[in-house]
Symmetry: C2
Subunit: 459 residues, 2 copies
């Protein structure tokens, strides 16, 4: 492993966010999400300046004060809406998760073009300016961009500082087909990423798709490193009072067998088909009725975007349909909980007999690593072939195609019927894999890739 | 060019279909569609046995009699519905034209799996059996399969007759992403096609996607040859009484400028976005109001399939919305004609100032060749970058991204504003290209590819 280094981490969300409480005091909150959690490990080991968007009003006040290791960039509010709510989500997210029904969507009218130009480009320019300012303080620092919000910034930084060392991690799928975007947009995205010395993805599949679409890579290296979790953190969490309290509630009400899913309410997560497949299982296998519940813990997500609000409604309808058809006074087949409650999720991880991950597409899916790590019942992982984690974990999971309802019902039946020795063998396989390939190994691997990239001669 | 050869052509629709009229007499109709029209040229130059599905009751009677150069295969009616209305359309068609909104569709339940097994597989087995019977009469014949209805037949024929010479032309796009289908289905499709000595597509793009997805090609050659038209046929048609009569009607009612589109009412054709883009043009450029009409001649297609019926309704709504917003007593902005009227289409080809082809995806799109060939006004071709014809004609067309409404409105404005010399240069470019690369050249090229493939040593 390399020694201590100077890093400039750039991501839309930062590691902290600020608020002002009733008495006027400023409070600091830890940012959520797998990305921020994973990157927080960098802060202890390296000299990190983190550049992120100012999200709250108090963030904007902090942004004006400056002088911390976290540089919060305040954006024009209209530009930010175009950047975040029109281009990043849904346009890029839907394109990269192959969610568009191209017969009717997307529709790129003048508003969308303006959101690209005055929102996405403008916010990327502001991020790039903040990076250049940091580089002027510390020219030897490595710049480490993150994700789909920041595809254009690397080119702007490269043009301003040709000798800088730039890396970019894309945390979501890289699809083979980018034709949903007009040529000028997709060319700018590839051009921006190719301004980096290193572009990294979770899986070989996404990296190959990128290389394939990029044509000439120039001096850019492309790598893949699957993100992971900090096992010690989950070991500690799983015995925390909050989790134990939630676990007592689950144990008190659980039936014989529990199928668990933990997701955001995002169309890419494929919740509706999961309920439909569970309904098909109950239809075809009456022996499971009354004995199995599907517990769905869903964090409501991006409800300002119409596609997301509609999807949550569809989730509620499909859960209600299964319950209306099969439920009894003493048994609710689908237990749908729409809330952001991480202790409850960890408690459910401990209690599942089947963990169900049927994503349409997913860059990685950390649930597939977190759940098996803390599970106490040798539960079985049912895993979409389109989740990035499938490259690592398929050997110990039951694979499903996300569009194949019949196949998902079969997989649930197989998982629920599996004998104890086979369940144990599989569960142990995943636990060993995750403990060995933890988030520290991910960071070390990436930094080694950065070192290799830094030895490239730029033309 | 090679000499006369023995060919067994296999396609779902044949070159003729039969009916029985009121007095009990059998009548023979020529089959429609670009594929059948293009292949009919083979019949004069080679010894062809054509194997196709019996579609009408009278076809089934002919099938039982046997003994003609057209072998009509009668299928079990339930199997045929599964094969045609569930698997071929919409499942394969939507997958290959990237039309699924994967968040909600497709849903492969038991019915769809049964349609695959008892419909698509069963019908392909019957086709394969008919091919093997023909090969036993004529073992030296080349078998030439066509399109997405028959992906599984080549493997069955290959297993039965290892030494046969097999070729397959896929007339629709080959996408990069096949994950909408479960692994067993997509593996069977690739395996079936790779049982051929030659697999052919219209464009390099589709061929590359196939090679990319196939992995090891074994001894299979892959080629691309863009289908074309018979210029003499269109020269004759364009002065036929039926076309001249339709042309008189158009001339009598046309405004100064005419934008024409000719399509089936298929979601892949992108009619709704075309009307919306035309509405955007009229909104932003009042100077065109009253002077331009978009004449849309649409052949109603596959209305037994819900997605198609819904799409026709959406077409009608969007045309009505543009007309309600901009129409006057003397000018209807969108003239929507839903009918199967080929003479009217050819008359519109002669009269367009702009020919609008904005397909979401299209294997080739013959309209982009037919229209410019007979046009009398040096009309401008606006052409989707996702139509196969774009590889051949982009140099002389205005390219559009099918999802970019703003871009399509801009392209219409550019086309309508273009000066006469530039219009002429482009129109002459397309005409010369189509006359030189006609359907006879397509067939000759393919047969040369077959000869090259026949020299492969099979393992």
């Amino acid at each position: 492993m390399s020694g201590r280094r100077s890093l400039i981490v750039v991501s839309n969300r930062g590691p902290v966010s600020y608020d002002r409480v009733a008495d006027g005091a400023r409070i600091e909150r830890r940012g959520g999400g797998g990305l921020v959690t994973a990157l927080r490990g960098l802060l202890d080991q390296h000299d990190v300046t983190w550049i992120a968007s100012a999200i709250t009003d108090e963030d904007r006040a902090v942004a004006e004060e400056g002088g911390s290791d976290v540089v919060l960039v305040a954006h024009d509010p209209v530009a930010y809406v175009g950047y975040y709510n029109v281009i990043a989500n849904p346009l890029l997210w839907f394109t990269q998760h192959s969610l568009w029904g191209l017969g009717a969507q997307p529709n790129l009218g003048r508003a969308e073009h303006a959101a690209w130009r005055d929102g996405y480009e403008a916010v990327n320019r502001r991020f790039a300016a903040a990076v250049v300012a940091e580089l002027d303080n510390n020219p030897a620092a490595t710049v480490f961009f993150h994700d789909y919000h920041l595809y254009l910034a690397p080119r702007i930084v490269r043009d301003a500082r040709p000798g800088a060392l730039l890396a970019h991690f894309v945390h979501i799928p890289w699809p083979r087909d980018w034709s949903a975007l007009p040529p000028a947009m997709r060319d700018a995205i590839f051009d921006g990423l190719l301004a980096n010395d290193l572009v990294a993805f979770h899986t070989a599949r996404w990296a190959e798709n990128f290389v394939d679409g990029a044509g000439d890579l120039g001096s850019t290296r492309v790598t893949h490193r699957a993100i992971s979790i900090e096992p010690a953190e989950f070991d500690e969490l799983s015995t925390s009072p909050a989790v134990l309290e939630q676990e007592r509630r689950i144990v008190a009400s659980r039936p014989e067998l529990l199928v668990v899913r933990v997701d955001r309410t995002d169309p890419s997560k494929n919740v509706v088909r999961g309920f439909d497949a569970f309904g098909l299982l109950l239809d075809e296998h009456p022996e499971w009725r009354g004995r199995v519940t599907m517990l769905a813990l869903l964090d409501p997500s991006r409800q300002a975007i119409p596609e997301y609000a509609e999807y949550l409604a569809a989730i509620e309808r499909s859960a209600a349909a299964v319950n209306a058809r099969f439920g009894t006074d003493s048994w609710r087949p689908v237990d749908l909980q729409v809330a952001d409650n991480f202790p409850q999720s960890v408690a459910a991880y401990k209690q599942f007999d089947v963990l169900f991950v049927n994503a349409v597409y997913d860059g990685l899916n950390l649930v597939a690593k977190e759940g098996p790590l803390v599970n106490t019942r040798d539960g079985v992982l049912v895993l979409s072939e389109n989740a990035g984690a499938h490259e690592e974990l398929a050997e110990w999971a039951i694979s499903v195609n996300p569009f194949d309802l019949a196949g998902q019902a079969d997989a649930l039946h197989q998982a629920l019927s599996m004998g104890a020795p086979e369940r144990r063998r599989r569960a142990e396989g995943i636990r060993a894999q995750v403990r060995e390939h933890d988030v520290a190994a991910w960071i070390a691997g990436l930094l080694a890739d950065v070192d290799r990239a830094s030895r490239n001669v730029r033309p």
